[in-house]
Symmetry: C2
């Protein structure tokens, strides 16, 4: 049997066909065109999936199920998207609409959940009984995997780790609250800290590389920190303080076997991991608590397709995760 995974992004639709171990057999993609009616977007999702299937050389009857990762919140028991801010979707019957084009069981979940599932089945946390996945990107997404399955909660809204309160009355968040974790641990947060820092240190390597404050990226800050630029080191140090504290809250809450870091910031690699691992003990309760290992995600962009495909492998239609 084979599975189809669709990674629905704000700008790109990527679809792939996978085997039973999450190995990608073929891929296809197209632009999302998020401003269009949802039915047109779903039609293109179906086209992408069928194109990938054609490229795999397999027939449609070999397809067991289709999984979809969305940048929002879905209810897998109804097959509806609850909301998807980037696409302007609210209460969309995604399963029903996709099944108009391809008659197969359809499973939907949040993109971070799907990526976390991929890592737990075919990536760095494979074999762990429990893991928590954190995507450090424009925002901060999360996934909780318990006994091999994503835990998405009683209403499908669990693992919104980016919106844990880390600072009461802190920086306003896009979600309407203040002081959310993603305001301190996302790539957006690192960039904000960098821009703030160069204001008083215009001679920093960060600004030299970026040209102007608006061009400062997470990568530039991290590269400058790796090269030892004092301001970049300071900014990165502040960022990893927040991140270690956030990981510590995950440990105190769920004590998972593995905490996986994904998303753009995780491209900093061992440099990030070393900084976080060095700081973790400092934030432990009583300094002596045992805790899970922190790892970098290994599947990169493929995690979206692989994890979506795997939704179909572990679930029955209509079943809530």
């Amino acid at each position: 049997m084979i599975y189809i995974g669709i990674d629905l992004g704000g700008t790109k639709i990527a679809a792939g066909v996978t085997g039973l171990k999450g190995n990608i057999l073929s891929e296809a993609s197209s632009a999302t065109g998020a401003q269009r009616d949802y039915k047109e977007v779903v039609r293109d999702m179906a086209s992408c999936a069928l194109k990938a299937l054609e490229q795999s050389g397999r027939s449609i009857d070999k397809v067991e199920a289709i999984g979809i990762g969305i940048p929002g919140i879905a209810d897998n028991s109804t097959g509806r998207v609850i909301f998807c801010t980037n696409l302007g979707w609210h209460d969309i019957p995604l399963r029903e609409e996709l099944q108009k084009h391809i008659r197969k069981p359809v499973f939907i979940d949040n993109d971070a959940t799907v990526a976390g599932l991929a890592e737990s089945m075919a990536g760095v946390s494979a074999g762990a009984a429990s893991s928590v996945f954190l995507t450090l990107g424009t925002g901060v997404g999360g996934a909780i995997i318990i006994n091999g399955k994503p835990w998405t909660g009683a209403h499908g809204v669990a693992s919104e780790l980016g919106h844990l309160t880390m600072e009461m009355g802190g920086i306003p968040c896009t979600c309407g609250k203040r002081g959310c974790l993603e305001r301190y641990c996302s790539a957006t947060a690192l960039i904000r800290m960098g821009r703030e820092a160069v204001r008083t240190h215009p001679d920093s390597l960060i600004l030299l590389r970026a040209g102007k404050p608006e061009k400062i990226s997470g990568k530039i800050i991290i590269d400058c920190a790796k090269e030892g630029d004092p301001l970049a080191v300071k900014v990165f140090d502040r960022y990893t303080d927040y991140l270690a504290l956030a990981i510590n809250s995950i440990v105190s809450f769920l004590d998972p076997e593995v905490i996986v870091l994904g998303g753009g910031i995780s491209m900093a690699g061992q440099f990030l991991l070393d900084a976080v691992n060095k700081k973790m003990p400092r934030y432990l309760m009583f300094k002596t608590m045992p805790y899970g290992r922190v790892e970098l995600a290994v599947l990169g962009n493929s995690a979206g397709i692989i994890g979506a495909a795997m939704l179909g492998m572990i679930l029955k239609e209509g079943e809530s995760l």
Copy 2:
């Protein structure tokens, strides 16, 4: 079959015999005498258990297992107490020691976990697939129940909800960190807020009732708030702001079907529940997220014995929760 539950507290040992539904058949208690050698404390735990058994009129061969709730962290796979601050215990072979007195399977877990388990099996969250229990006492304890079993993590240190960071660099905590949830949501926190408030408002009903600042209790503050004393209302309002925010983080993390409030502060009853329920929507992501119901614990002090007894009902010896 019957079960024995032992609630080991810092000042009191309470033991009880329960039936299959968590119904208490008999109880016995004695002072903990925490300053003594752990072997003496364990001997008294065994005496208490046997006294309760005698009072129940049942014989020892009817006892299936013994469960123990401790005010600390245990590893149920080894039967050892990792640490127990109140008792000064560190790496104590509690199961082995108790089995010297009573040869039955022994299960050990944190007291909040045990109370949460009791509520989920015989209390307000019975029937819910998932629940999170918060004890609002001297500190803040937590329990996570998923599919009928406590989730205690990969190292037995999960659900330490009192030590989630709510305020970076905030009030120093007894655990060595700063800004932990329990510094804002415990009874201790409410009392601290009350004492701070009367400094600038010595005419408040709170101080009139208490006599002097050191005598201010959580109950006095809540009673004065119920009576409409403006300062008490303000203090209680601030406290429930923190609590609603903390519950909101639990929703964002785990999205449980029920959130149960226990411990001393929960004695404020409907007055507390109304305040929290009114504030919950304000702290939701996008204001429109569905979320579980918030309830008051119903088993009171019996939860310790009932939940401990139930550990033996749902686990196999050596099994990690």
